[in-house]
Symmetry: C2
Subunit: 400 residues, 2 copies
DNA sequence: TGGCTTAGTTCGAGACGTGATTTAACCTGT
DNA sequence: ACAGGTTAAATCACGTCTCGAACTAAGCCA
C-alpha cells in the first residue's frame, strides 16, 4: 500500500524497456512495428528503447520479413547467448546444477550424489559451491545469477532461510552460507515452485494466467500461479495441497494431523496402503520409484488378489486426487490444473480417466467446464530449469 | 503480459497522484512531510501534486501540527464531502440502497422489500432504478458511481452479467438493464466479495495484505483477498469455500455433489441436520434465522435430549468449519481468516473455541501460528457499504 | 526510372520529477 | 520586541521521458 514501482521518468523508461524486453523474450522474433501495436507505445519510443537494447547487445536483429510493397520489417530477438544463468535442483537423492543460456537452453551440468541419502546441510553447501565453481568456469557469457530449488519452505528475512521439515533442515540460512563461496546473485525458492515456473514458461502452463500445479512425488505439494506469478501466501507457505483434509479422522499424516491428502496420494502413502492391504513383505524394496512401479505393474497384469489390491489402492488414489482437484477448482477457479512430479506422471496414465470423472462429479459445473486438467509437459526433472528462470525473470523485470 | 499501467509521463503523474491520494485516504490526515517520507517522492513533487489535488478540491487542509522550533506542518485530508457513492445490497429478502460520502459515512438509505421472497429480475431492476433516483435526488455532491452486491457469480463480458443459481438468475445482463435508468458508472460484484471489501477497508481485515473471509449465511461462501485485492480466479468464481469436499460420499449438497462443506455448515444445513436428529417437526419455522436461533438456545439451556442433539449438531458444525479453516490455512497461508455472515456471527460465540481447536489440529504448525482466526467486525449488513467501496476504489486508483 | 507503400528514425514540443535554492512560519532566548 | 535558529513548503532551473509529425530508408510495381 505504500510504494509501488514507478515514480520518476527513469523508472518509467525502465518499465517500458522491461515491457519490450519481456515481449521479445516470450513472443519470439518481432518487428518494431509489432511491438508498437502490442505494447501501445509510440513508434518513436519503441525505436528509441530498442536502440538502447541493441547497443547493450541484449537484443539483436534477426532477419527480416518479406514486404508487400513497402520497406520490409526487421525482426528483433533477445540474444540468448548474451547472458547465462545457473539452476540448482537440491533433491532428496542428488543435487543437480545446470547451466543455461538466456533462452534456457542447457549448456552444461554437474551432478552431485547425496551421500547416504541424507541432505546434511554441512555437505550440501560445499557441494553446491563446488558445482558452481565448475559451471561458472565453463561459462561463455556473464552469469546473471543462480536459482536454487530446495525441498522446503523458503523465507526471506532478508536472506533466504530454508525450513525443510522432511529433510531435517531447521532454519538453514542457505543464502548466507553460499554467499561465502560466490558473488553471483542468489535466488532460493521451493523446488515445487521452481518446477511450476518452468512449466509456466515452457511447458503445460504456457499462456495461462492462473494455474495450479500438483506435484506428486514421495509426498504431495502444489504451486499456485495467480496472474502469471507464483502465489506465496503471507509467509511463503501457500500451496500445501497435500495437507488439505481428505477425511476427518482418517490416516495419520507425517505432519501429525489426521486425514491429510498426502496420507493417501503420495508414493509413500500409496505404497504404505498397498502393504497394509496385502502384507508388508510383498513390496520388498526401499526405493519408492521401484515400489510404485511394481504396484502399477501388478494392477496392469495380475488377475489375482495382488492385482485386485493394487487396482483398489490405485482407484482410491485416483478418487482422492480427483476430489483434491475439485477442491482446487471450486476454491481457486484456475484456468488449468497440471499434474506433475515423478509419481504423478508415473500413475497418471492409469488414473487420469478416473481422476477426471471424480473431479467433475465434485466440482461446480461452470468453473470445471472452463478448467483443463492435464499433465506436466517437462517431465519430473524441470526443477533446475525452473530455478534458472528466477535470475532470468529478475533480469527481464528490471529491464536489464 | 502485454500492457501494464504506466507508459508516458501523464500516466506517471496519475500513478503518483493516486499513490498520494490513497495514502491520505487510508492513513488519515498527513502532512506533506509525512507524504514525502512514506512515498519516496521528492518534496517538490509532493507539493506539486498536492497543489493539484487541492485545486480540484479533493484534498483540503486540516489544521496543523504544533512544531518544535520550526514551521508547523499543515495536515492534509481527503474532503469526504466532495463526492458521494451509492452501494446496493441485493439480498434474498430485500434490496437495500445506501448513499455514502467519500469516507463511507452513511448519508441516506432506501429499503425495497422483495415481494414474495422472490428475486424476479423484472422487478429487481425497476426497484433498484427507483431507489437510485431517490438517493441521487438527495445527493449533496457528485456521485462517483453505484456499487451493487448481488448473490451470484458476476462475469464482465464486457458488461456485468449475473449468474445466480440459488435465486434463479441465468445470465442476467444487470448492467445493461440498469444502464437504461442511470448514467452513473456501475460496478457489479458478488455480495460476499463486497462485504469482504468493506471488512478490508474498515473492519477486521484492516491492514492485512492477504485474508480469507468466510461467509456463513444460509449457505457458505468465501472471498479471498490476495495482495490487498479480491482474487476472482480465471472466471470470477474463485472462493467457493462451501463446496470444498468435507467428506467423500457424504451429505448431498444443493450443488449436486456429495459431501460439500456447505451441506454441513450453512444455516440451512445445520437446521436440516438437527431436524434429522430429532424429527422434522421440532423446528417448526421456515425462517432460518429463527430456526438457527432456537437450536443455539436449546444447546445453551436444555439439558435433555433436544439439547444433546443441538450440542451434537453444533459440535459437528464447529469441527467442519475448523477443518475447512485448516484447509484454507494450509493451502493459501493467509494472514487472517475472518468469519462473517449472519449465521457465522450467530454461531461463533458458541463454536469459536472448538473451531480454533480443530483448525489448529489440522493445520501445519508454522502457517497456523502466523494466522489469526477472528470474527468480522462490521456485522452482517456490510454488503452495501462494501459495494460502495467499488466506485471509491476506482476513484482512488485512477487518481481522480 | 519514377511513383507508391510501409518501416523506422529524427526532431521539436510538452510534461514530469528532482535537487538546490528560496520563502514561509514558527520557536527560543535575550 | 527582535535576532537567530529551525523546520515546512514553494519555486526554479535542469535533465529525462514519451509523443506526434515530419522525414528518411528500403522495398515493390509498372
Amino acid at each position: 500500500m505504500t510504494d509501488e514501482g514507478r515514480r520518476n521518468v527513469r523508472d518509467l523508461r525502465r518499465g517500458n524497456r522491461a515491457m519490450l524486453l519481456r515481449r521479445l523474450y516470450f513472443h519470439g522474433p518481432l518487428s518494431r512495428q509489432e511491438l508498437v501495436q502490442t505494447t501501445g507505445l509510440s513508434s518513436a519510443s519503441v525505436s528509441n528503447v530498442v536502440a538502447d537494447l541493441i547497443e547493450a547487445k541484449i537484443v539483436v536483429e534477426a532477419g527480416s520479413v518479406e514486404s508487400d510493397g513497402g520497406r520490409p520489417r526487421i525482426l528483433l530477438r533477445v540474444d540468448a547467448a548474451r547472458f547465462e544463468a545457473i539452476g540448482v535442483d537440491v533433491g532428496e537423492t542428488r543435487i543437480r546444477l545446470e547451466r543455461f543460456d538466456l533462452g534456457l537452453r542447457e549448456l552444461g551440468s554437474v551432478d552431485v550424489p547425496v551421500l547416504g541419502g541424507q541432505l546434511d546441510p554441512k555437505a550440501v553447501v560445499p557441494a553446491i559451491a563446488a558445482g558452481l565453481a565448475e559451471l561458472t568456469a565453463g561459462a561463455q557469457a556473464p552469469v546473471l545469477g543462480v536459482g536454487i530449488g530446495v525441498p522446503g519452505t523458503v523465507q526471506h528475512q532478508p536472506y533466504a532461510v530454508v525450513h525443510g521439515q522432511t529433510i531435517g533442515w531447521d532454519a538453514l540460512p542457505l543464502e548466507e552460507l553460499l554467499r561465502e563461496h560466490t558473488e553471483l546473485p542468489l535466488f532460493v525458492d521451493n523446488g515445487a515452485r521452481t518446477m511450476a515456473q518452468a512449466e509456466m514458461w515452457f511447458g503445460a502452463g504456457r499462456g495461462a494466467e492462473s494455474a495450479v500445479f500438483l506435484l506428486l512425488g514421495s509426498g504431495a505439494g502444489a504451486s499456485v500461479i495467480v496472474d502469471g506469478a507464483p502465489f506465496r501466501g503471507s509467509t511463503t507457505s501457500a500451496g500445501e495441497w497435500g495437507h488439505l483434509n481428505a477425511e476427518y479422522g482418517g490416516r495419520l499424516c507425517r505432519c501429525g494431523a489426521r486425514g491429510c491428502l498426502e496420507a493417501y496420494v503420495g508414493a509413500e502413502a500409496v505404497i504404505a496402503r498397498y502393504r497394509e492391504a496385502v502384507g508388508a513383505a510383498v513390496i520388498d524394496t526401499d526405493d519408492e520409484e521401484e515400489g510404485l512401479g511394481r504396484i502399477l505393474a501388478l494392477a496392469e497384469v495380475d488377475a489375482g488378489a495382488a492385482g485386485d489390491a493394487a487396482r483398489s489402492v490405485l482407484d482410491e488414489t485416483a478418487v482422492r486426487i480427483g476430489v483434491g482437484i475439485a477442491n482446487v477448482v471450486n476454491f481457486l477457479n484456475p484456468q488449468r490444473v497440471i499434474i506433475g512430479g515423478w509419481a504423478g506422471l508415473a500413475m497418471a496414465p492409469r488414473l487420469l480417466p478416473r481422476i477426471h470423472e471424480v473431479a467433475q462429479a465434485h466440482s461446480l459445473r461452470l468453473p470445471y467446464s472452463l478448467t483443463s486438467v492435464e499433465l506436466g509437459a517437462l517431465g519430473p526433472d524441470a526443477v533446475a530449469r525452473g530455478a534458472a528462470t528466477l535470475p532470468v525473470a529478475r533480469f527481464l523485470e528490471s529491464g536489464a
